[in-house]
Subunit: 239 residues, 2 copies
Amino acid sequence: MATTKPYPGTSNTQPDRDLIRNNPYLKTLDNEAIDYLFQMGEIRNHPKGDVLIVQGEDPKYLFISLKGKIALVARRASGERTIVEMLPSGSMFLLSSVLLRLPYVASAEASTDMRILAIPVDAFMKGLELHHALALTTLNQMAGYVRLMASQVKQLKLQNASERLAHHILARCRKDHGAAILELDDERRVIAQRLGMTPESLSRSIAALKDAGVVFDQRTVRIDDVARLREYCGLEIID
Amino acid sequence: MATTKPYPGTSNTQPDRDLIRNNPYLKTLDNEAIDYLFQMGEIRNHPKGDVLIVQGEDPKYLFISLKGKIALVARRASGERTIVEMLPSGSMFLLSSVLLRLPYVASAEASTDMRILAIPVDAFMKGLELHHALALTTLNQMAGYVRLMASQVKQLKLQNASERLAHHILARCRKDHGAAILELDDERRVIAQRLGMTPESLSRSIAALKDAGVVFDQRTVRIDDVARLREYCGLEIID
DNA sequence: CGCTAGGTTGAGCTTTCTCAAAGCGAGTGG
DNA sequence: CCACTCGCTTTGAGAAAGCTCAACCTAGCG
């Protein structure tokens, strides 16, 4: 699978601890919980493109991304694939399968070079009992995933392709009115799969958003008026 | 909103306790946790059609359905509605919004007459700290919701209307091969909204499934060969 | 300077939606 | 007891959205 490098107890874990402490999704962990995770887990480095988890397999580890972006990929029996979600660093990805000890609902692929912490399922479950901070962080992450997934269901059922693209852009825009400019850091094919459309449709949606005051230049997006785009989008922005 | 009836401490809570103890999603709660919930919460009865929660409002209570079926309904600004999910009794619905103290992502409507337990958010959060069994049940419910939502995203992105209908039927069928017969307990309009299509499209999908060996007679569904239908459906069945 | 990979554009087709009309079944009043 | 009505479902025809396939464009790179 990839380079594996367990912590031999005496090695320097400080840089990785700092990654956890600085991560918005993990910073509620306390020292005891972090100690526990490093004690029970091992660090792995994966190059972009690596498949960390295969849909349908039984969970053996809980993975926490310390650095890099994960793509959750689902396939049908016939082979077609789609991206269920992109997850930033600090994610305990496919957590639900681990907690329920049920086969992974999706595969996890490294969308960038990654550094991850892998904790055996039993050790993780034990950690939930022993470390309150870990349980709370886990609870929060899962609540966030439910929101994310529920929001996506709403998008797929209530918005057309261009509106979903508008939503995608707005979710990456910190301003809530006036003009704005931002960078999309995925390639078109990836964005298209995440939004549930073909790259061709994404292209046409990009063209369509000109009428809503959005101009694309490579990966740079310029929005004339965020409030207007929100109106166009039609759904409140979640994530 | 509806008939409200708090527990005055001495009243008979036994029937409601039994509902909890017999419910597959709640039976891991222990007596202390159940005591706590009844002490802090109040019982409400709602007739079919009542709106228990309105999308966009701030969570004040965590609701647990003791009896009856909930429809999670989402709307766009322009008014169109869809059903995000149908939840059986024993559900802590819209849990994620409560845990994160963020506006509800969807409305909750009583799809049947309902009996629910409403616990103020602060009391519930406190309960998570005090009662380990409650925290575990909560964790499990949320993990289940993530799976459900992730599965639905897969369905919407990878399956066409007829395949989604096949999925819906298979999810309600306990057998995994041979012939089977089952009842759908929702009306067509509701099933259509849940599956992300119009009632007309659902009608046509019902007709289309004849070729896959599925016959509808009112709410009764007869499947010639479950394995064959699974193949037609193209995705593993989750829920 | 030509290749290659990613992105866009165009044409035709498939799926699903929309709108209108017809079918059907359960409950009601004559 | 029967015709009627109301609500839900199905069917049909046309329109719209999105997909497929093919051609073309463009930028980075050997």
